[in-house]
């Protein structure tokens, strides 16, 4: 795989030096980041539609915060501080499963419970990260929080591709059941869906996806890319097909633009911030369209 990335990088770098591609493509790390964007955009866009439908936007935020704890634990245990995937995956999965288990066995509403877990994960994550920050270069911390194209390695691409295959292979066939279960669990169960198991599978999908996208977008903002493209698409769309594909398109374009624009214009801003700002622009545009077009007129109350 690594040889494949290397030859792809060399080919694109050559095109950039010949002037056939923007100058940013001269840098190997930019090509790595764009390769990641090719997977992150469509995946987060598509899964985001389900996140928005199931009203779980803040769940992925909680997972992003939990990943900070994961990174800190990884550093404490001596894992490579640029790629502490084992600690991140294990800690975030445990955190997500604990949250979902509590949700099924408590009288609290989902938003209250997610709020509680979100705060806990932020407090623990920030404290631990600052605690271990003496051991690592602070740029690593910035990269964890806000994403950085500079740090994307071949390992990151491999992890992302593996997670993408997993999410598509499992999430694709279960999409209908997940959606039906969120609308009417009793009907979904009557049609043969295992509703509780589905819930756990979805939680695991969001978790592994969040962790895999962390390097590019950052722990603080990864939730935004699940949420904003789907919300932007939902503003102007009335069918599921349009919802999913428009959300995928917005997320992908945002990722590419967010990585390339700061490089091309030499702006010292983190990739995560830039990606989310581009997505936000789409959101503003679709909100205006929905406000101004009579096609989307609503009752008002």
């Amino acid at each position: 795989m690594d040889n494949l990335y290397e030859s792809l990088r060399q080919w694109l770098q050559q095109l950039a030096t010949q002037g056939d591609l923007p100058l940013s493509f001269q840098y190997g790390f930019v090509i790595n980041a764009l390769l990641c964007a090719l997977f992150i955009g469509p995946l987060l866009g598509a899964v985001g539609t389900m996140v928005v439908t199931k009203k779980m936007a803040f769940f992925s935020q909680a997972i992003g915060n939990a990943a900070m704890t994961g990174v800190a634990i990884g550093v404490l245990l001596g894992e490579s501080y640029t790629e502490p995937y084992v600690s991140m995956f294990i800690f975030c999965l445990l955190f997500a499963l604990a949250l979902n288990f509590t949700k099924h066995n408590s009288n609290l509403s989902a938003d209250t419970l997610i709020g509680v877990f979100l705060s806990i994960s932020l407090a623990v994550g920030a404290s631990l990260l600052l605690f271990v920050s003496a051991k690592v270069n602070t740029h690593i911390l910035e990269a964890v929080l806000f994403g950085s194209v500079l740090t994307v390695s071949d390992t990151d691409i491999n992890v992302l591709i593996l997670v993408s295959i997993l999410v598509v292979a499992i999430g694709g066939p279960l999409f209908n059941q997940l959606l039906l279960a969120s609308l009417n669990p009793s009907l979904a169960a009557a049609r043969g869906a295992r509703v509780k198991l589905l819930e756990y599978i979805f939680v695991i999908i969001i978790t592994v996806l969040t962790v895999a996208c962390l390097k590019i977008i950052g722990a603080v903002l990864v939730e935004a890319l699940l949420l904003i493209p789907a919300a932007a698409a939902r503003n102007v769309i009335s069918s599921m097909r349009g919802f999913v594909f428009l959300s995928m398109a917005i997320a992908t374009v945002s990722c590419f633009a967010g990585i390339l624009i700061p490089m091309e214009f030499d702006l010292p801003i983190p990739s995560g911030g830039a990606i989310v700002m581009v997505a936000a622009l789409f959101f503003i545009i679709t909100t205006l369209i929905a406000l101004l077009s009579p096609r989307f007129q609503r009752a008002g109350l």
């Binding site: 066939p173 959606l179 009417n184 009907l187 698409a233 599921m240």
Partner: protein, 256 residues
């Protein structure tokens, strides 16, 4: 006769039997000492006051409740090669008004098992869905509308249509006509009657006693306990009509 009417196949529905069925949730008794049987291929109506446990009983039949006692779904009269499908029409479909899910999308997520809704439906499935939507009165002009924008009655029609795919051998209906206009009620009654004529066993939670008299083969009256069960005339002629309209605690005491 339209193509879809020919499309319903002969099936053999199950016989149902509830023995010593009890259900308690959060320390509250919902159902007590329910014992009755439904013959294969019958249309059996459950009547009784609001809060009497009729929906809970249906969900016990679906295996979705932590009940005690036994519920037997007996397919012994049905040849192995015939499909054994349970269709379920829930009472209502709550949904955000602006969720981008059209009538067609809803049919896809309910009826397509593995193909994600954003890839559309297979041609064959689309034909069946369209026929059923026609029969329940959701014409082509409604099918691209978001489900959230449909009226209560239109949603009930949609819920009924999904329960018919694939064709059920056991059909569980939870007040499927409560929001329907007369025309809609007639369309669904015709479908219920046709299913029944093909052999489907139907359990129907209903409040419209005139329709019950028209379609049902047998009736049970439930208000936490089984108040009566038997033929339509026996049950409906002998039961104190007040029971059906009184709050649950009163009606139970009235009988005990």
């Amino acid at each position: 006769m339209s193509a879809s009417e020919n499309a319903l196949k002969t099936t053999v529905g199950p016989a149902l039997k509830m023995q010593q069925l009890e259900l308690s949730l959060a320390n509250t008794s919902i159902l007590q000492d329910i014992n009755f049987a439904i013959k294969a291929g019958e249309v059996h109506c459950l009547v009784g006051p609001n809060g009497g446990g009729k929906t809970s009983l249906l969900r016990c039949l679906l295996g979705q409740m932590p009940h005690r006692g036994t519920v037997t779904i007996d397919y012994s009269q049905s040849p192995d090669e015939l499909p054994r499908v349970t269709g379920y029409v829930p009472q209502q479909l709550h949904m955000e008004k602006t969720l981008p899910l059209t009538v067609n999308d809803f049919m896809a997520i309910a009826c397509e098992s593995l193909r994600p809704v954003f890839f559309g439906r297979s041609k064959a499935r689309k034909v069946i869905c369209d026929e059923l939507l026609d029969r329940v009165g959701l014409g082509a002009n409604k099918r691209r509308r978001p489900v959230g924008s449909l009226s209560g009655g239109e949603r009930q029609r949609l819920l009924f249509a999904q329960a018919m795919i694939p064709q059920p051998s056991l059909l569980l209906l939870d007040e499927p006509l409560s929001s329907l206009d007369q025309g809609g009620a007639r369309q669904l009654i015709d479908l219920i009657a046709e299913c029944s004529s093909r052999g489907t066993t139907i359990v129907w939670v209903a409040h419209e006693l005139s329709l019950v008299r028209e379609v049902a083969d047998s009736v049970s009256c439930i208000s936490r306990r089984l108040l009566a069960t038997g033929s339509v005339d026996d049950v409906l002629n002998n039961i104190d009509p007040d029971i059906l309209y009184r709050p649950v605690s009163d009606s139970v005491e009235a009988v005990l």
